[in-house]
């Protein structure tokens, strides 16, 4: 039996293509981006340090806070600026709000239609839109704008976020608790296809869903078997490969291991050291833990459980946050050049920003590794495993069925192609 399938996967962020070739027992899947190169690393080169976050936050509309934060973090480390705890917590809160928004929108509008829900179903769509609206408003209050935030710069916040603003955000969030739980009930009731994860390597920042203030370099990254201390050595740990046909790259751990990063990886690693959860969440996580470790489709479950976790965590941190001490540090005049690495957890997984500054505080080298680049190889290997499983059964040999399942799997990963497209090497 020989099948060749090409599918432009719809309902994902950006334009991408999955190529499946089946020749007897051999199955090969390639997941490539179709978007044109965006060259953000070149755009920021030569720019003054403070302009960089504004430029790179435009890499992505759905995770602009993650890019903004990571670039601010990298530049602060390069300049030797240390921000206070309240500033870090607020930045983290902005990022978490965006993770929450991304998860809700992705699950509702991109994933649920795969499992028989139509977007015309009024009840769940109005719930979705309500959560989205509230998170948007909260983001606007904390981050300055819905996308492309503007309230903080390397060194701190540009304005004093007063206590009433934080209180309003908390009130807004409290108003959608039931809607989120309702959505969780819908998502957790869908039946996932069976699949064994062919490469169970899960990578995330330590304690990521709960940590409010990240360790400011070196970053501790947990994988399933090892713990890495990542700073300037990030290039040795996350090795990127250039491909002939794609405008994005593929990333392997230590140059050999295919790994996953994102909600599922965060939850699996969080279970190692997480504490302070409500009984409802502890029960949910314990119940679905074996599934997270086994089935790549369970990223869908992981996303909604992480949304509940983030929601609970946001309410806790914001209600007890004292913003009275927000300070803003300006870089000193004497600077002899240097580099910084910023690692944060974006909605889709690990995000790494690297900047090298010259003594004039202008960027001379930039590098961004996005989560989609990291897990796109994992999409390929698990798609291959999925197709092999389908081919084993008689009814699974149907071409349209293979296509439907593979597309559903890609959507479960939630790749973001505009993020993944960066500088590529030209072959001469």
């Amino acid at each position: 039996m020989s099948i060749k399938l090409t599918s432009e996967v719809v309902r994902v962020a950006g334009e991408s293509e999955i190529l499946v070739s089946i020749d007897g027992e051999r199955v090969k899947v390639e997941y490539d981006s179709l978007a044109s190169p965006r060259s953000f690393e070149s755009l920021v080169t030569g720019r003054k340090y403070w302009e960089v976050p504004y430029v790179v936050s435009r890499v992505c509309g759905v995770c602009s806070h993650a890019h903004f934060w990571a670039s601010n973090l990298a530049i602060e480390l390069a300049l030797g600026i240390k921000v206070d705890e309240a500033t870090s917590t607020l930045r983290d809160a902005c990022n978490k709000l965006q993770i929450l928004q991304n998860h809700v929108i992705h699950l509702g509008f991109l994933v649920l239609p795969d499992y028989g829900y139509s977007v015309g179903n009024d009840k769940y769509v109005s719930t979705l839109l309500k959560v989205n609206r509230v998170v948007n408003e909260a983001l606007r209050l904390l981050g300055g704008r819905l996308t492309n935030p503007n309230v903080y710069v390397p060194g701190g916040f540009t304005e004093d976020l007063k206590q009433p603003v934080i209180k309003r955000v908390v009130n807004l969030l409290e108003s959608v608790g039931n809607d989120l739980r309702e959505l969780a009930n819908i998502i957790l009731s869908i039946e996932l296809p069976e699949l064994e994860d062919p490469s169970p390597e899960y990578v995330s920042l330590r304690n990521s869903p709960s940590v409010t203030v990240p360790v400011e370099g070196p970053y501790i990254i947990d994988s399933s078997k090892n713990t890495y201390t990542v700073y300037e050595n990030y290039r040795e740990i996350f090795v990127e490969r250039y491909l002939d046909l794609s405008t994005s790259k593929k990333c392997l751990m230590n140059g050999e291991k295919v790994f996953h990063t994102g909600a599922r990886a965060r939850l699996i690693n969080y279970l190692k050291g997480g504490s302070g959860l409500s009984s409802e969440l502890r029960y949910l996580i314990a119940r679905y833990e074996p599934l997270f470790k086994k089935n790549p489709f369970s990223n869908i479950y992981a996303k909604i459980i992480e949304s509940l976790l983030i929601y609970e965590n946001l309410l806790q941190t914001l209600s007890s946050l004292d913003t009275g001490k927000l300070s803003r540090v300006r870089p000193g005049n004497s600077f002899s050049g240097g580099f910084g690495v910023g690692v944060v957890e974006a909605p889709r997984g690990l995000l790494i920003h690297y900047y090298e500054l010259n003594p004039e505080m202008r960027v001379i080298k930039a590098d961004i590794i996005t989560p989609t680049v990291m897990f796109s190889k994992h999409i390929e290997v698990s798609s291959e495993a999925l197709i092999k499983g389908l081919l084993a059964s008689e009814e699974g040999r149907d071409e349209s069925l293979v296509k439907r399942f593979v597309e559903a799997l890609v959507r479960a990963y939630d790749p973001c192609i505009p993020c993944a497209v960066h500088v590529i090497k030209m072959k001469r």
């Binding site: 030569g46 720019r47 003054k48 302009e51 504004y54 430029v55 300055g144 704008r145 503007n150 309230v151 710069v153 916040f157 540009t158 304005e159």
Partner: protein, 217 residues
């Protein structure tokens, strides 16, 4: 009393009334800058133009007559009002960043209403004056950027990065570059910021920045 028709609605007004009185009586509104009822009707701003029997006239100066057919608003009138306002703005020294009117300005609200570009973000910015970001040394592009965003970035203490595009008036640029930026912001930084969105900048403004900053742009 005479009968006139405002946008085809019949209105009765006294014999010595002006067209603007008839229009107001019919429940319509004509934008105006210089007219003050009973005090001043020299018809200098020419924003209140309307059509009477097909002819364009200033409504604050023109008397009514029996059977006059008045049209208050159509595309040609809007265009004429816009042109007149642009001519007024051309001689107006736009210095919203230090103006005492603090945004309570009829010229500004009318510009927004008629869709006239050329008013800077500073006009909407609550930081104008003492807490201005440029005066603090931040290279904020507010004075050069077209207003309409409600100054969302400077409002939160973050400098304007010119996402709405620049005002294409040499006058505004000369004033901002020479009076405003020169002492407060390094022109080198400004030069880099102007290219932030790679927005279109005409040759004359290009030349201007180059001349003022003495740096290749």
């Amino acid at each position: 009393m005479v009968k006139v028709y405002v946008n085809n609605n019949e209105v009765e007004v006294s014999q010595d009334a002006l067209v603007i009185d008839a229009v107001e009586k019919a429940g319509y509104e004509v934008p105006t800058l210089c007219y003050l009822k009973g005090l001043f009707n020299e018809a200098t701003c020419r924003i209140c133009v309307v059509k009477v029997n097909g002819k364009v006239v200033p409504s604050c100066r023109f008397p009514v007559f029996e059977g006059a057919r008045i049209i208050v608003d159509d595309s040609e009138l809007r265009r004429l009002r816009r042109v007149n306002l642009e001519l007024l703005l051309a001689t107006h020294e736009i210095k919203c960043w230090s103006c005492v009117r603090k945004g309570m300005c009829e010229l500004l609200s009318l510009s927004k209403r008629l869709g006239v570009e050329g008013i800077p973000v500073c006009s909407e910015c609550p930081l104008r004056g003492r807490s201005c970001l440029v005066l603090k040394g931040f290279p904020c592009l507010g004075p050069l950027t077209v207003a309409g965003c409600d100054a969302e970035c400077p409002r939160r203490g973050s400098p304007c990065i010119g996402c709405r595009g620049y005002i294409m008036s040499e006058d505004v640029w000369v004033r901002a570059l020479e009076e405003f930026y020169k002492d407060n912001v390094s022109l080198n930084e400004l030069k880099s910021l102007i290219s932030f969105f790679w927005s279109y900048l005409p040759q004359n403004l290009y030349r201007l920045v180059r001349e003022v900053s003495n740096v290749e742009y």
